[in-house]
Symmetry: C2
Subunit: 517 residues, 2 copies
């Protein structure tokens, strides 16, 4: 069989059963081979950033990689920003970049460029497949590499002749390395710190934000008085009624400093030592308080839940975790604002929902308003590269077709990868998209003053303004086959959200709100 078919069969055997594709000529043999390997589902995206963001959402929810099929260097380039987010999320994700045939590269045809340079910027593992006979083994290694705890982007570059030459065979899937157990001495040492009763914070991240880890951490907190905090932008946070609650570190460094104030010990469980998202004149980059000692209980690729459970058994024997109580805000009346929209979402969030949160400044009230909603997953903008939410929602819905997905999107961010809505419609994904339409890059209006820039003049402010002309997200959604409505009061928003959540398939609600509301 040809290399393309051997690659697809090997991927399917390796547990990769979804291919998000935006192919071109050099990938045509991969496309043709899809009909030979029905175990591989192919989903078309109209832009590579939609494909890579969807693969990120899929990997976060499925715990195994989707493949993305991209066209040479420029196709990979268009997918890089969401691969950057996936890298920060430590998502298992397999990138397949079709390239010119091996013998064609030296002719520097128009689409030729340095694919390896681009791939290296987001991938933990990169290989160029040199021969058709090796292609299956290469992708088997790539799939295993992508799954290597905690997960990473693995990229295979497949020259066109490697896919079309007919001397390939599938290979057996490779074993995936498990998470590393944490040594008993490390757990003992952390237990000793906690017994010292100095003010301590356990900072959770990665798999430390899934339910088993949160329950163990809650036990430790109850028994020792250590405070729990979580990384600012988790890949996947399991939360809601019945699950121990944990507050995330604030995006704003000054607020994060207040959260960490007084801590003498910072115990990392899947999280990194906290740093400011950006630098500001006269501010420190590290958010670790002066005199605070940092201890690593578990790194991102370690058995975080196991380490926390062992710690709980040592430090909190017989102590139970404290689950979040079920509670929802009432449905608000009156104006639609960020706050009232959050209350509506808290009131209506369905059980087992997957929330893809790229609401940015419009979402500040969301964590509080949804804390006691039925159990759900919360996926965030891990790498800060905006344009993630609509694709991420597509991938989450493809991974979990039985679960409702709620995409909470800032208007500015939505426009980067707006064509993801077409894939929502094409695959009839059960996604409700809420666009917080405040007609500005509100976060930049805030950052403009935080960076100490001179008082903004008219021309500076104009660069942060999205009101001229105003975007109609209902028109954009309908142009791509997604039914849409516009809400201008809290009750309108509640009625539209209730209806959208009740109906299967994609919907979009344009929530018109003032900035910073």
């Amino acid at each position: 069989m040809n290399g393309a078919e051997a690659v697809l069969r090997t991927l399917a055997d390796s547990g990769v059963s979804l291919c998000l594709a935006n192919p071109g000529t050099s990938e045509m043999h991969m496309v043709a081979a899809l009909d030979e390997v029905p175990r591989m589902r192919a989903v078309l995206c109209l832009f590579e950033g939609a494909a890579t963001g969807a693969a990120d959402g899929y990997g976060r929810m499925a715990g195994r990689p989707a493949a993305v099929l991209l066209h040479l260097g420029p196709g990979l380039a268009n997918g890089l920003a969401n691969l950057h987010n996936a890298r920060r999320a430590r998502t298992p994700l397999l990138v397949i970049v079709g390239d010119h045939a091996t013998y064609h590269k030296r002719f520097d045809a128009p689409l030729e460029s340095d694919i390896e340079a681009l791939a290296g910027s987001v991938s933990g593992w990169v290989r160029r497949s040199a021969r058709s006979a090796d292609a299956a083994a290469d992708v088997a290694e790539a799939a295993a590499a992508a799954m290597c705890p905690p997960g990473q982007v693995a990229t295979v570059i497949l020259p066109a002749d490697v896919t079309w030459s007919a001397d390939a065979e599938p290979v057996t899937a490779l074993p995936v390395r498990p998470r590393s157990p944490v040594a008993g001495q490390v757990i003992d040492a952390v237990a000793a710190v906690l017994r010292g009763a100095e003010p301590s914070v356990i900072l959770l991240g990665g798999a430390g934000m899934h339910r088993p880890a949160l329950e163990a951490a809650s036990r430790v907190s109850q028994a020792t008085g250590a405070r729990l905090l979580a990384e600012t932008f988790p890949a996947r946070h399991e939360r809601g009624a019945g699950i121990p609650q944990v507050e995330r570190l604030a995006y704003l460094a000054e607020m994060a400093e207040a959260q960490l104030d007084g801590a003498r010990h910072l115990i990392l469980a899947g999280a990194r030592a906290p740093v400011s998202f950006f630098a500001y004149p006269g501010k420190l980059s590290s958010l670790v308080p002066d005199g605070c000692q940092v201890h690593t209980l578990a790194g991102p690729g370690d058995d975080i839940a196991g380490a926390l459970a062992a710690l709980a058994d040592l430090a909190a024997p017989g102590v139970a975790p404290v689950p979040q109580q079920a509670e929802r805000p009432g449905l608000p009346d009156g104006d639609l604002t960020g706050n009232s929209a959050a209350a509506v979402i808290g009131a209506l969030l369905p059980e087992h929902a997957i929330v893809c949160d790229e609401a940015n400044t419009s979402g500040l009230a969301l964590p509080g308003a949804t804390a006691g909603a039925p159990p759900h997953d919360w996926l965030t903008l891990t790498g800060g590269a905006i344009g993630q939410g609509l694709p991420l929602a597509a991938g989450a819905a493809l991974a979990c077709p039985e679960r409702p997905v709620l995409a909470l999107e800032a208007d500015g961010s939505a426009m980067y990868t707006i064509s993801a809505l077409w894939t929502h419609a094409r695959e009839q994904l059960d996604i409700t998209t809420v666009i917080f339409s405040n007609r500005s890059y509100a976060i930049l209006n805030m950052e403009l003053s935080r960076t100490g820039a001179p008082a903004a003049g008219e021309r500076a402010r104009s660069l942060l303004d999205l009101s001229r002309p105003g975007l109609s997200f209902t028109a954009l959604a309908e142009g791509m086959g997604v039914p849409a409505s516009r809400a201008q009061t809290a009750p309108e928003f509640a009625a539209q959200l209730r209806r959208a959540l009740a109906e299967p398939g994609p919907h979009l609600i344009e929530a018109v709100i003032p900035p910073f509301s």
Copy 2:
């Protein structure tokens, strides 16, 4: 003054007066400084690929660089595909990437990534500015580098603290190196080849496709019998009534081979030796015929027009160029197809129009139908990275506000950077966009068989299909503030195109056509 202001003043002194921006927090001091330097016009784009594509269009038409202001690695990543096209077009273009403050980088904050790796893949010149005091000198060098013939992408990485530190001063603009003269011996040698009267082709490219070069080439062709051909995807082709006509090499290798068949000498004037756009099983990559000798009259950075003029003086003394006759097709009746749409465009194309051609398979009849239209410029997809046309049109309109711009777009390609329409509306650019809506990646349906892939099954064909759901480009345009209409017959298209061209400001026409029509 701070680094940001010194940079903007130096750029303005260096002839860079337009900044296409999609900024973030690390660029806030650059944004604030815009109010101090009114000579720098700033135009907001909603996606970096729109900004870089616009800078490409501007540079091709203005002959000097626009600046693009991008946000760290992910912002640059989103702009790379159109920078790839600009690299292939050899457009003078200045990229400014804001980065974290110098002291913040080692903390590996969420948006940290390898900016140099990305920049290197598209830039002929890259520098990271290390100190505020050096920033102005760095951008002065960058502007000169961008202008270095034939033009290139030059990238400056500006850490946030380099822009905000207040120990900077503007510097004087640097001289720009002129195009290199071609040595007399080279011209003599080519003249000798032509005197040999063996079948010869002069292949024009780059500045060889501007009027003075075309006139000189036409004289040579008339006098010596050498055939004229042009590169497949020129950055800017001056053509139409009164300008010598030159046929471009076909995209399809088999057609290009036929065009070059029998040539014993291929004389390059600004073009590269022709290669197949893609590799195909069993086909050669080079399109130079067997036994054909390649001679370089002028490289892309040489004085191509001067070399052709000197050659004409040697080989064609007293011979006049043959201008294209004025002729237009009649307005067709009946169905709207790629062919009838081309006739309408040929019938109505205004004098001095700038055509941004990303029509792909729907545009095959365009060159013929417009050959005798009033003089105009034709800008093409130089690097093959689709998603260029709508941004390119924005940049062309910003460079030449007095000229009508016609963006001819394939539906699939349009979706990559569709948000460029918002910038068309915001700046009220005089752009008429025609979307050829055939609801398929038609070119890939063709390539699927050309690559020798097995007969396409249902799943393969589905990945090339854009009909489920159908995109409404009128809705998309109206969602971004661009008035739009849909044409389904040739007369409807003619009426709508006439109206759109007559009115100032942006318009969009969705031309519904069958694939390969």
